[in-house]
């Protein structure tokens, strides 16, 4: 199904799918028999109480962890046993809970490092750094798009927390990923930043799939087209926001706390 090149406008195609995903740590089953379909041009939220296994699912999908069993397909290819860097090269790019930037590189260099590999400029140890100059316009474009153009020469470490996350997203976008996995993109952000990053994610999702773990339920309600609720390593419910919000089990397990 995912191999079909033609796009059905009513039912967006699946770009990333997991079947029977399972991960055991010692005796503890962190992720148990999870099925997940991530669609093109959709924002898909993965929610659930702490310890539900959301981040583990992220690590499994991006191959930072090996699944104990199950199967993962990206764009119709089996990636279950692939190394993480290869998965990233196929277009599945993730962010991390702790903002993943290169602190002692400038903001511009952070983005340029991401552009280097697709441009075939990553192994050249005999050329001067000016070989990277041709990546600068694209890097500046990306920084412009996220509102970081004024900070291009700053060290990434000197940015505010929210802007570090924005830089991280800009760096991720530099790879033009097919599937974007965002691990709590709004965690620890102020109000203005949340609004800004929401807008950014929405515009990004127009032509790629986004899967995000998020705790802020108003953000989830506002942003996501599709929601999967996890609890204790299992998928509890999946569907659009009204469906999930109406689900009795979800109310008990998770949303109930919010309504009280």
């Amino acid at each position: 199904m995912a191999d079909e090149p033609c796009m059905d406008s009513t039912e967006p195609r699946v770009v990333l799918s997991a079947r029977g995903l399972r991960r055991v740590f010692g005796g503890f089953v962190a992720v148990d028999n999870v099925d997940l379909d991530v669609h093109h041009a959709r924002i898909h939220a993965l929610i659930g109480p702490n310890g539900a296994g959301k981040t583990t699912v992220f690590n499994l999908l991006t191959k930072f962890l090996e699944p104990t069993s199950g199967r993962i397909e990206l764009l119709g290819h089996d990636i279950t046993r692939m190394p993480p860097a290869a998965v990233a090269r196929m277009g599945l790019v993730r962010s991390f809970q702790i903002s993943a930037i290169f602190p002692h590189l400038t903001v511009l260099d952070n983005v340029r490092v991401a552009l280097q590999r697709p441009a075939g400029l990553s192994a050249q140890f005999w050329r001067p750094l000016s070989a990277l100059d041709r990546l600068t316009p694209r890097a500046e474009e990306l920084l412009d798009a996220v509102g970081l153009a004024d900070a291009r020469n700053k060290l990434a470490a000197d940015l505010s927390y929210g802007r570090k996350r924005v830089l991280e997203i800009a760096t991720t976008l530099a790879l033009d990923p097919k599937v974007l996995l965002l691990d709590e993109p709004m965690a620890g952000m102020g109000h203005e930043d949340v609004g800004m990053v929401s807008t950014l994610i929405r515009s990004v999702a127009r032509d790629r799939a986004v899967l995000m773990v998020e705790h802020n339920l108003s953000v989830v309600a506002d942003l996501s087209d599709w929601i999967t609720v996890m609890q204790r390593g299992k998928v509890l419910a999946t569907g659009d926001y009204p469906t999930v919000a109406a689900d009795e089990r979800v109310k008990v397990a998770y949303m109930g706390m919010e309504e009280g």
């Binding site: 190394p83 993480p84 860097a85 990233a88 590999r117 140890f125 750094l129």
Partner: protein
Amino acid sequence: MAETTLRNTRARMSSRLEQGLVVIGILVLLAAPFFVYPILLMKMLCFALFACAFNLLLGYTGLLSFGHATFFGGAAYFCAHAVKVWGWPPEAGILLGVAGAATLGLVMGFFAIRRQGIYFAMITLALAQMFYFFCVQAPFTHGEDGIQGVPRGLLFGLLDLNQPLNIYYFVLVVFLLGVFAIWRIVNSPFGMVLRSIRENENRAVSLGYSVANYKLAAFVMSAALAGLAGAVKAIVFQFATLTDVTWQMSGEVILMTLLGGIGTMVGPIVGAGLVVGLENALATSGFPVMIATGAIFMACVMLFRRGIVGEIQARWTARRERGSGNEVNV
């Protein structure tokens, strides 16, 4: 906008300053043999190149190897054997030393880069100890005696390296080429990827970089350049000994690099010059060198962690930034 231009002007000024300092440094090194005992200078240059090669790995890739003596001392053995026993010309012996060190680096790196931090250091140490015991046992190294009486010979069949000035300038050229190579690697697209791996390895993986390959490449380059230093040293001193493959030698190069400043181009050179100079000064006094270097190392760790050059650079940058802040206010 004005601020950007100001910053650019300053950047250009500071790069002018750096270029000026490099030129002065080269002039000093050109004139030095007329004032200082050339053998001592050549020893300093060999160790400086060794420390720079080590720093390529520690300072710019973030990998602490505790086995670099293998490449330094190993290359010295290979070069000395080829020149003395097989009668190779010095340049071919040195190339063999470099190739041998790179091969050893490939093997050691292959096993070590899969581990991180202290485990990486321990694996390199363990493999270096294995190589040490190999050198103790292998017949071609002549065990405790080492390979002695290595002829310096004619460089490219033309230049008699037995002439003190000839060999000094040969060592200086090798040193400058080696340091230039390291500078080029560090300031290249590849070096940028190395820095990103040092800064945040997981992030580099998530950007699609096969981190292990880059680390291995850096390890082999560092090993080859350390081998270059070791092979040249064998030609200069006309022998290759067990001392150069001991773990103490691996420790000494760490000390030199830390003392001068990790992750700076000039730091390891300064550190190596200081340690070698100190050893030379204390050699005749009877005062144990280890105590002196140990005390200096402690002082370095407690008082100026960035190392001598690192500390100077940090102060200089801080002062400049304060200066530019003032000017923007005006």
